[in-house]
Structure formats: C-alpha cells, structure tokens
C-alpha cells in the first residue's frame, strides 16, 4: 500500500525490549479500588450508588452527564466505602470526585446486557448505544468517548476507518501485546466499528518495530477476508499522532481546527477495538485495560491487565517494585505522558502505562541558549518553527506565537527531544496555551462585567425615566385638574400649565 509522506519526526530510543516479551498477566485484585468519575473527555459522570451499597462487578456506578461523557462501572464486586474527592493523576493535583470501592474478593458479576448476536445486522445506533453504555473511551490516551465518535461519524460522512496500532511512544508495549495475544478480538471489534460507521475501507497501521504483531494481525485479518488492510508504517515518532497517521495512510490532510471525521476518516486505537468487541459480543463494560509497567527503575517490567482504579504503587509492586528511587514517575509514555507526584493515585481508562524512569533515562542537562541549528524545524511534524514560537513566548508575545502556529502544535515533543541546547520547548507552548486560556477567561469575565454594568445602567436609566415620566404625568394631571377646577370657578388662566 502506498504511504504518503510525513514531514519531520524523530528516531527515538524505543526501549520496548524491556517489556515487549512479557505476556499480559492479570494484576492481583487490589483490596480497594479508587474509581474517578471523570476518566474521559467531557463532563464527569454522576454517581447512581450510595455509600454502603453492595455492588457487583460490572454494575453501573455513575451515569454520563451531557452529550459528551461516559459512565463508569464497578471493576469488581464489593462495598462502596466513600464517594468524595481524592487525589488522582490529574495534572492539577486537585482532588477529583472519586468512588472508593472495597473489594469483597468474590468477583461476582452483575447480569450483563445480552450479547448482540449478529452485530452486522444490528443498526449503527444500537451499536453506538451499547458502546456508550459500556463506558468505552479511546484507550490510546486521549480517552474521548468512543460512542460520540461512532455517533457523529455514523451520519454517513466517514468512508475510512483507521485503526491505530502504531504505539510510537517509547517503552509502551501494551498495544503490541494485545495485538499479539488478542488479534482475533481486535479484528472483530474493528469490523463492528466499521459496520457502525458505514466505513468501506479499513486500515490497521502498525509500526515496523513490531514484526510479531504485524504477523499475527495479518493472519487474523486474512481469516475474515480481504476488506481489512494491515499496513506496516515506519517506526518513527510521532507516527501514532492522529493527524499524521491519517495523512500517512490515506493521503488526506486534516485542515487546521478540523477533525478526522471532516475528511471522512475515523481513528481508533487497537485496544479500543478490543473493548468494543467485548462490549458487543459479551456485554462487558470497560472495567479493566492492559497497561505497561516499565522503565529503568522497575525491577521486572510487565504488561498487566489492570482493573480501573488500582493504585500506581500496586502496579509497581506487581512488577517487582523499583530497583532505585525513580527519577521520574509517569502515567503514559516519556514523550507525552503526565508526571505523577504520588504512588497512591489510581490508574484510569486512559492510562496506557506507568513508567518509573531512572536518572540516566531522563533529560537532566540544563537549558542553554538557542544556537538556531534548525533541528526543531526539521523534526516538527506540523511544519512549525518551534524555536521562533518559544522566543516569542519568552517575550510574552502570545498573539504573535498564535499567528505562527501555536494552536497547530500537537505537543508531540519532537522538538524538545531533539534540541541540542536542551530547551524545554513544549513547556513554553504549554505555558502559552494555558496563559491564553486564562487571558480568554479574564476577557470573557471583563466582557460579562461590562455587559452587566451596561445593562444595569440601562435598567437604572429606564427606571429613572419611568419615574420622571410618572412624575410628569402626575404633575400634568394635577395641572389639568387645577385648570378644570379654575375653569369650573371661572377665574383661572386658561391652559397655561397644560404643556409643562
């Protein structure tokens, strides 16, 4: 298959060999699970259980709120200990609404919704409803509710389904392992999604550094017919970036500020496809996922099937603990992952891995001056000039940074990875985006205050005017009365006060 040209990108040290040969093992069931109510893009879910309730595995704990949201389900059976705020992996470190579930160790399942016997005869709407009810979100990391993507796209605009098996982030091997061990489930989920979307073309893109996954997936795809294309794509970061993957395999470039659906493409992760298969064929909600536990400070890197709500420390324990104090603890990969500040935070649906990196694996060199070498320009997959944006941001010229493409940056980190002066370019971009958002809020608040003040002034003016008019009318009436009385008495001036 013809691949289209992608500009830029970096050859990262993959370090996938640390965990790529470790089969998926279940995490021993934790005694308590901390299930955040917001694990997805959109509004947080609303609890439908109360403290003290006994819940069964797979039972609905919280229902979605609004059009973009997702429900959360009980990862195991047990008792609801608490519904309140807990520190999660959320980057703000602000406690998030969370349900705490004490496991009873029985793993007793709730009555699951019946399997959809023949999904290819089912309507797109019924499939989307099932996916929504099962709380499935994009498992590639962004955690956008999958049903919303199936729904919006089901309006007949999507012709191509692109399945993302690139796994371009270093260290992470969970998608690789799923493709090797659950290829059949993935292929089935992919076909169900293609049916729901009405997509006629299915492309599964896998980086060349995963030959076994490519092989297994190709064989699994061959058993169902020729409609699924497995494509080996270059092992180059960030091939798994949605915009770039779409261009790479379809040649369609998503216009700025638009989504893949706008060019007739829907992109989903391989693990999401597997979750769709489970939801449709078994009726099972998304209550666990495969995560990679790796990094130089981890004794025995693993790929684990983890119930949502398990604590990071429990994952590390299952990987033999750490051999040294981790210099950096991350949820996700080293390029775009989130730093963790605590071991006692729960993993969520979007967590693809937990990395404990040793000091030798992370960027420690101090920032130096830019030597204008142009490396950031040549590696930027978005065609930006990162050094210039950073220089503008440094001088607080945020509008100019936007003019040269700040909002077109996907924050992949290729520039900062390659910079010989160790300039944390992405940090500048995050700062600028946050600052602009804040300025936007302030502007809106000022506008609102101005509008309120203006309408108050207008209201006061209206009241004053009404008062004046009322007074004038009263005076006029009094004068008229006087005139009438005078006329009645026959000695007053005629009509002199009538116009006052």
């Amino acid at each position: 298959m013809k691949l289209f040209r992608i500009r830029g990108g970096v050859d990262v040290a993959h370090r996938k060999e640390l965990s790529s040969e470790e089969p998926i093992m279940p995490l021993p069931l934790p005694s308590r699970l901390y299930v955040p109510l917001r694990q997805h893009g959109g509004a947080p879910a609303e609890p439908v259980v109360s403290v003290g309730d006994r819940v069964l595995k797979g039972q609905l704990l919280a229902a979605p709120q609004g059009s973009v949201s997702a429900p959360v389900h009980a990862p195991t059976s047990g008792e609801i200990l608490n519904i309140g705020r807990q520190i999660t992996a959320h980057p703000s470190a602000i406690p998030q609404p969370t349900i705490v579930l004490e496991s009873d160790g029985c793993e007793e399942w709730v009555d699951l919704p019946p399997p959809i016997r023949d999904p290819f005869a089912a309507s797109a709407a019924s499939l989307a409803t099932r996916v929504a009810d099962c709380g499935i979100v994009g498992l590639g990391g962004a955690a956008f509710p999958t049903a919303v993507k199936l729904d919006a796209a089901a309006r007949g605009t999507v012709d191509t389904l692109v399945i993302n098996g690139a796994e371009c982030e270093p260290y992470l091997t969970c998608d690789d392992r799923i493709m090797r061990e659950r290829a059949g489930e993935i292929i089935d989920g992919v076909r169900i999604m293609a049916h729901a979307l009405g997509a006629t073309r299915i492309v599964i893109a896998i980086e060349r550094n995963k030959p076994q996954a490519l092989d297994t997936m190709t064989r699994a795809a061959d058993t169902v017919g020729p409609e699924i294309l497995i494509v080996a794509i270059p092992a180059r970061y960030p091939m798994g970036s949605e915009r770039h993957l779409v261009l790479l395999v379809t040649g369609r470039e998503i216009p700025a500020r638009r989504l893949p659906a706008d060019v007739g493409v829907s992109v989903h992760n391989v693990a999401t496809a597997r979750a769709v298969h489970r939801a449709v064929r078994v009726g099972e909600p998304l209550i666990s996922r495969v995560m990679t536990v790796s990094g130089g400070a981890v004794r025995r890197p693993r790929n684990l099937e983890v119930p949502i709500g398990a604590l990071v420390c429990e994952l590390l324990d299952a990987a033999g603990g750490t051999t040294e104090a981790p210099a950096r603890l991350l949820a996700g990969g080293p390029m775009m992952g989130q730093p963790l500040h605590s071991l006692v935070v729960p993993v969520v649906k979007g967590t693809s891995g937990i990395l404990a990196l040793a000091a030798s694996e992370i960027r420690t060199a101090p920032e130096q001056g830019c030597i204008r070498c142009g490396t950031c320009v040549s590696v930027c997959p978005c065609g930006l000039v990162p050094m210039e944006m950073a220089a503008l941001i440094r001088h607080e010229k945020l509008e100019q940074a936007v003019a040269v493409g700040l909002h077109d940056c996907v924050a992949c980190g290729s520039c900062a990875y390659a910079c010989p002066s160790h300039i944390p370019l992405v940090q500048y971009f995050h700062y600028a985006k946050g600052r602009l958002k804040q300025l936007g809020h302030e502007q809106r608040r000022r506008d609102l205050a101005r509008r309120l003040a203006a309408s108050r002034a207008e209201r006061l003016e209206r009241i004053a005017r009404a008062k004046r008019e009322a007074v004038a009318a009263r005076k006029a009436a009094a004068a008229a009365k006087k005139v009438a009385e005078a006329q009645a008495h026959g000695d007053g001036p005629v009509g002199s006060a009538a116009g006052s």
């Binding site: 500009r7 915009r243 261009l247 470039e253 950096r328 001056g369 030597i371 210039e388």
Partner: protein, 361 residues
Amino acid sequence: MTAETITEPSGPYAHADWSVRQIMLRVMAALVPATVFNAWVFGWPAVFLFAVTVAAALIAEAICLWLAGRPVGASLADGSAALTAWLLAFSLPPYAPWWIGMVGAVIAIVIGKHIFGGLGQNLFNPAMVARVALLISFPVPMTLYVLPTGFGLLAAPPGFLDGLVITFGGQGIPDALSAATALSAVQTQLGLGQPATVAVASAVAPWRMAAGTMAGSLGETSALLLAAGGVYLLWARVITWHVPVALAGSMALLSGLANAIDPARFPGADFTLLTGATVLGAFFIATDPVTSPVTRGGQLVFGAGCGLLSWVIRSFAGYPEGLAFAILLMNAATPLIDRGMRPRVHGRTRHGRPLTLERLR
C-alpha cells in the same frame, strides 16, 4: 506538593543524546585532518599562529562571560569559542605575525559574538567578521602568503626557532618564501591582459590545488581533506547537504557558464571550486547554525546566495577572494530569508489559511 507541581518541567522526559558541545566537538574533529596536514605543510609558524589565535579567543571568551555574569567554565566547555578561533586561524596567512591572530580572535569573540549577547545571538559569523576587519585594517600582513614547505618544495623549511622569529619576531617573511595565492596570481595575470586559460595554467597545477600544496591561508589549501571533513559532518548529521550543495553548486554553475561564454575572461568551475576558501566555506563556515537560516528551503537560498556573491566578488571586484564578504552579506539577509521561507504548516496553505475540505472531495 503544590509548590513543586507548579515548577514541574513538562515533557518530553526523554532526550536525544545530542548537545551543543557534541556538535562543536564533531566540527573540530572534522577539521583535525586538514589542520595536521597544514601544520606539516607550513611548519612551525603556522602552529604558533594557530596556538596564539585559539588562546586569545579562549581568554577573550572567559573575560566576556565573566563580565556578563555567566558561568565561565560551562560556557567555555561548549567549545564554540575554540571553534571560532580555529576557523579564524584557517582564514589567516600562515606566516602572519602573532598580533594578527590575537587581534582577530579578540574581534571575533568580543565584537563578533558577545556584543550581540553571546552564543546564538550574533547576526554575523564571528570568524568572518574578524577576517574582514583584519583584511581591511591590515591589508599587507593579511595578503603576504608563503609557499608550502612540505613535499620538498622548499629546500630549508623554517625550524622551531626560525618559526618563533617569523611569528613573534616582527621581522617579516623572508623573500625567498613569499608567494601569491592561486586566486590572486590569476587575478594579477588577468589584470595584465593574459587570457584566463594561461593565467590558470601558470598559477598552480590542479592536483596541487586539490591536495593543498600551494600558497594560501590554512583553510584555502587541502581542499580534499576539508571536503572529507565535510562529508564526515554530513554523515554525523551535524550539517545537512543544503548549504554546501547550494553554495558549491551555484559557484560551479556560474563559473562554468561564464567560462563557456568567455573562456579568456573567466576561469572554469574546477578552478573556482578548488581555490580560495570554497570548500572550507561551504562545509564549515556558511553552515554555521547561528548565522544561517533554520529552514531547509532557507538554507538553499542562503547557500546559493553565498556562492553567487562570492563568484561576483571574485570575478568583478578588487579582492581576489570574496567568500568572507559573501557570507557576511548573506548573514545579514538571514532573518529575512527565515521570514520568507517558513515550512507549510500541517493543515494549512502556504499563506497560513486552513485547508479547504473541498480539496479532498
């Protein structure tokens, strides 16, 4: 937790094994073969001049850093000052007196670099600023070249003590040693009305131009070894092909065309590429990251501009070699080139508007 959360560095947490120091060290490594060869060809005076230039640059750099309140040791260790001095020494006549190297190094570091704000801030290539300043201020010592002494070309090469006298004694160069560079010899011959063919043939044999056993500054000679260093830099990904190819290509194209039209007036492409500082300039000076454009397209424009201006100066102006001037002129144009040659942003047109969806349907 909150305090360190706010000052937390953002990702990526991985980094390529790549630094400014590594870049500078690799460029220096690429210069070593030509340097060793030239030390042997020109003897002790060249070694002394080189040492004086580098030492003066390091001292000037240390003083500037100290005055600016920056960490002296760490910044010296990045190797940029040593590299500047190295390239400056390569552009000096090998038997020039010591103070030429010292004044040049101080000009390069203080005026060429730190006045602008230090590494990465300067608009002009510091080594070329120094070379041009020296050439204009001290035209006599800057144009006194000598024959190489290697390969038995000279009966008695100056020894260690003689070398000290030449560099530090202020005696000037013995007449028996002095010689003109190929470029200036040809320019003189052309000025006397000789056709270019005769002028080039009488100046120097092509193999000697390539090997470097001819009169000239350190960097004008040994085109082959410098080109080998340049190929190493390409292989080590310190530079890309854009600037060298555009520079050499435009020079070759122009001189080849001119030579085809009027062979009596213009030397051919081979002479143009092998003489003067063409190879040094194409691989080591015009590729200076700080003073060249950051985009690939911009680098092509920049390189082609350097080649064009250099050829024009060589062919029509008073100086036999114009690459230093050409590079400085193009340095001045670099901000403009960077502005005009941005890459196209993903999802947008060349003019920055979002792509239209109709294009796809």
